[in-house]
């Protein structure tokens, strides 16, 4: 992708508040009709990026180009975006109808055109029959939809969503994720969504931008980010990950305690004696009966410390040998648990598939 055909282009965005650097050299390209998720823990700068795009914050350094126009120093009034805040910021004394028409009334459109557009918006977000209610009379999910419809009312080129679902119950949140996604696909609006919820980012984003301490840690599709986290932070923040302390023992191998693992497929280039973190996701660990042939690659004996039932999966805490401080977690379906007869204290064989291992310099 070249910068010329991306809809939103952010280069070297840096924002300082006094001594504190909230953003440092953030660069990002968003394609037309793409939904991009800014994901990170609170205070990582994701909301600051969004507010810079909206013009609600002025970056210290950097450029923001939207649709070929440099908007870096434009006030929000002169930019082209719709926004949904975490609080929704619905006007409480105006009805749903009036909230949706608020931006349209200013465009000097005939009253009838405004009403047509408002009705269309109400139908789009499925709020038929609620148009004369006040926001206070709506449920959280309905308020969220009004906020979304209001942001789309003036047909902006860019939609900004700042933690749009975090104020809702888990169930409503799941449903609205789907709805927002469908709507976004249908109208094809370029969207930037800020969230701290990894599940939200994984299910909604065409691409995810993981941020940490004001810098971009990794950018990629949800699958890329999940299966190939480039830093321990990303590995830890998205999904669950086992971190084992190891030492590079040459030939692409890493020694954890006295056990050696083939990590030739992991990307990091290692030199002999490097301290590293050997990482594997719980669901990637394969467990066999203890009579399994241990000579296969990356196989080892292990002992089950305890198990935890989580409904659809079991979580199994394991160690290479009794009273070892090196513990790790595996997750496997109940059917495997039954067939392998895994219980506390059992001896098993485990395999760390080489293609599933990640190695980071410690």
């Amino acid at each position: 992708m070249s910068s010329s055909d991306s809809y939103l282009l952010i280069q070297n965005l840096t924002k300082r508040f006094g001594e504190f650097e909230a953003l440092s050299q953030v660069s990002l390209e968003v394609d037309q009709s793409e939904l991009i998720c800014l994901l990170g823990p609170s205070g990582c700068g994701k909301t600051t990026v969004l507010r810079c795009i909206a013009g609600l914050e002025t970056p210290t350094v950097g450029t923001i180009v939207q649709n070929g126009v440099d908007i870096t120093s434009l006030p929000p009034e002169d930019r082209d975006f719709g926004i949904v805040f975490q609080s929704y910021a619905l006007f409480p004394n105006l009805t749903v109808n009036e909230n949706l028409g608020f931006g349209l009334a200013n465009r000097k459109l005939p009253k009838q055109k405004i009403q047509e557009r408002v009705q269309q918006l109400i139908a789009t977000v499925g709020l038929e029959g609620h148009s004369d209610k006040y926001p206070g009379q709506l449920s959280g999910g309905q308020q969220q939809r009004v906020a979304l419809a209001r942001a789309l009312a003036t047909s902006p080129g860019l939609l900004l969503l700042d933690e749009p679902l975090s104020a809702l119950d888990a169930k409503v949140r799941q449903r609205l994720r789907r709805e927002i996604l469908d709507l976004q696909r249908k109208i094809g609006i370029t969207t930037v969504l800020v969230t701290h919820d990894q599940e939200e980012a994984l299910t909604m984003g065409d691409r995810i931008v993981v941020m940490d301490h004001g810098v971009i840690a990794q950018t990629g599709t949800p699958q890329e980010i999940y299966s190939n986290p480039t830093t321990p932070f990303v590995a830890n923040f998205i999904g669950k990950m086992n971190f084992l302390d190891g030492i590079a023992s040459g030939n692409g191998e890493v020694a954890v305690n006295q056990f050696s693992f083939d990590c030739a497929q992991a990307t990091e280039t290692l030199s002999l004696g490097d301290r590293v973190l050997l990482c594997i996701r719980p669901e990637d660990i394969v467990i066999y009966n203890s009579d399994f042939d241990n000579n296969e690659i990356n196989c080892n004996n292990a002992i089950v410390i305890d198990t935890e039932f989580l409904g659809s999966v079991f979580r199994v805490r394991l160690a290479f040998e009794e009273s070892s401080s090196t513990e790790f977690i595996a997750e496997l379906p109940p059917s495997d648990m039954r067939s392998l007869e895994i219980e506390s204290g059992a001896n098993v064989s485990i395999k760390f598939p080489p293609e599933r291992l990640h190695v980071y310099l410690a």
Binding site: Q25, A54, G55, L56, T58, P59, T60, V61, G62, T72, S73, L74, P75, P76, E77, D78, R79, F81, G82, I83, F85, S87, A89, F91, P92, N93, L94, F102, G103, N106, Y134, P135, G136, Q137, L138, S139, G140, G141, Q142, R150, A151, A153, T154, P156, L168, D169, K171, V172
Partner: protein
């Protein structure tokens, strides 16, 4: 990294407009507050011919024992009044918030009655009760009511409602969980009071003490009427300026009065900040439980206090209708024929009403709008926070000092605004400035409760800020606007201190007329005029209450929450 010059966002039309308004506000603040106050300091270091004399005026002041005594007198009055009023009001507020006695709302309303009267009124009433011809003068056991005793009682009456409001707020924010724990641990109720109730209300009580002290040391009306031989600082300002035309010494006394006021004011702000930090989100409101003996005791106390409040108000009312106290007690309206009195006229009453209406309407609009621009503008952070700071200056400026400052500043022939001196304009301006702070805080609190992103959403929808202000911000803040309006009306019609130096022949007002008629010995007509103020304030309050209910019923429908589930 190449350090290019920092990015500056371009100014939108809204930004420019808002910037212009903020500069305008700053100019008005300079002309209406800063420059006049500055002239007070200037006058205090000049001689009669306007030449700089350094601290000579201050030396003269401190070499006059009669004047210096006032400093001591003022502090004593302040301390004694504070101790008495806080004690009385604390028990009253405790009854309102911590007992299950009946008619709490009624007693709450009764305690607020003194707010509707100028501080002149209790002083006049006390003279009828305990003066030489008073019907209860035996209770004085030979002491004089005119003097410190009368001043203190008048001030206690007049400050009582302010302190009850503050203390009931402090006592009603208690965390119910602490009391449940105390009960489970079988703590004695006396111990609970000293270990839980008092510490929790500590900052509220301290804050109320400072407020009571501030009101007591800056009052003019009560001291003027019932002070007798006893002098205090605010009275000295009046005597020096009006009596002796000694403006220099008047400004010296003003500066000296400002010292304890500013110190108390700063202490009060500090304490108040600590008080608000005490309420945690997890707190459970305290619910008092019925206790027959305690509730009865509290009820009797509130009845006793109410009787005293009504006795003072009733005496003034009765005296105003009596033909010739104490010799001819038949009732008539003679005392209300103000046009026949020295220093009073129905014109003065009409002026008062007009002035208070102007103050309320213009003040509400101006104060709310400037609070809006200070609170909701996106840019100009430095200017906005300095304006916000300046908005509390009036609260720390005694009315007498502000009035004198206006006299110096606007009476100066070189001032192009000289033409407003002694007109309705300066009276309204002085009142708005004098009572600026409380409405400003009310407006700011209301505005802070609005979602901070309303303005951002409007900008994204390309709606100019004034449309959002008109269609959203203003309608939501109607209750706050209504509170500000009535506060300004009642304070304007009852005040005397700020305007006593500023009225002219055609712009005499009722509260000043009370002072002047009392001065001329027409005490009964003075009582009648003071009662006219009370009737008016009460009437307007009732009409305001009815109107507010009507308006809120029709414009605040959206506040009714009716949740539908997802």
């Amino acid at each position: 990294m190449a350090t290019a010059s920092a990015i500056v966002t371009k100014y939108s039309r809204d930004d420019k407009f808002q910037g212009g308004i903020l500069v305008l506000i700053a100019l008005v603040v300079a002309v209406a507050v800063l420059l006049p106050l500055f002239t007070i300091f200037l006058k205090s270091v000049e001689n009669r011919d306007g030449q700089f004399v350094g601290i000579l005026n201050y030396v003269e002041y401190f070499q006059t024992p009669a004047l210096v005594a006032s400093i001591y007198n003022t502090i004593i009055i302040g301390v004694v009044t504070t101790v008495i009023v806080i004690t009385l009001a604390f028990i009253y507020a405790y009854a309102l918030t911590r007992s299950c006695m009946p008619y709490k709302n009624l007693f709450r309303s009764i305690s607020l009655i003194p707010l509707l009267a100028p501080s002149l009124l209790p002083a006049i009433a006390l003279i009828y009760m305990f003066g030489n011809q008073g019907y209860m003068k035996e209770l004085m056991f030979g002491y004089e009511i005119r003097g410190p005793i009368g001043i203190v009682i008048s001030l206690v009456f007049w400050i009582f409602p302010h302190v009850v409001i503050l203390l009931s707020t402090a006592l009603s924010t208690a965390d119910g969980r602490l009391y449940e724990v105390a009960k489970v641990l079988r703590t004695k109720s006396i111990r609970t009071f000293f270990k839980i109730t008092l510490p929790a209300a500590k900052y509220g009580v301290m804050s109320a003490c400072f407020v009571a002290f501030l009101y007591a040391i800056t009052d003019f009306g009560a001291c003027k009427v019932i002070g007798g031989w006893f002098t205090v600082l605010s009275l000295d300002i009046y005597k020096q300026v009006v009596g002796q035309q000694n403006f220099q010494l008047g400004s010296v006394v003003s500066v000296i009065l400002l010292l304890p006021v500013v110190v108390t004011f700063i202490a009060q702000r500090q304490v108040q900040r600590k008080q608000t930090a005490q309420i945690t989100p997890g707190s459970v409101p305290y619910q008092p439980k019925p206790n027959r003996r305690f509730d009865l005791l509290m009820l009797l106390y509130c009845i006793a206090v109410s009787i005293i409040l009504f006795a003072i108000l009733g005496t003034a009312a009765y005296a105003s209708f009596v033909k010739f106290w104490p010799y001819n007690l038949s009732l008539s309206l003679t005392n209300y024929q103000f046009n026949l009195m020295d220093g009073g006229s129905w014109q003065a009453y009409r002026n008062s009403v007009v002035m208070s209406l102007y103050t309320a309407f213009i003040g509400t609009a101006v104060i709310f709008c400037s609070a809006y621009f200070i609170e909701k503008t996106r840019r100009y952070r430095g200017l906005r926070s300095s304006l916000n700071f300046l908005s509390i200056v009036p609260l720390a400026t005694p009315g007498m000092v502000l009035g004198l400052a206006y006299l110096f500043f606007f009476n100066d022939p070189l001032n192009p605004l000289n033409f407003i001196y002694k007109t309705m304009i300066i009276l309204v301006l002085a009142n708005i400035v004098h009572y600026y702070t409380v409405p400003h805080l009310t407006a700011t609190t209301a505005l802070k409760q609005l979602d901070v992103e309303f303005e951002s959403v409007s900008a994204s929808l390309k709606v100019p800020f004034y449309k959002t202000f008109w269609h959203v911000t203003l309608p939501i803040c109607i209750p706050a606007l209504s509170n500000i309006w009535i506060y300004l009306f009642v304070t304007a019609i009852t005040t005397v201190s700020a305007v006593v130096f500023l009225y002219g022949h055609d712009t005499n007002i009722a509260a000043v007329a009370v002072v002047n008629m009392d001065d001329a010995g027409d005490v009964a007509p003075a009582a009648a005029m003071a009662m006219m103020i009370v009737y008016t304030a009460m009437g307007v309050r009732i009409v305001h209450w009815l109107l507010t209910h009507f308006i809120e019923k029709h414009t605040q429908k959206w506040r009714q929450q009716k949740l539908t589930s997802d």
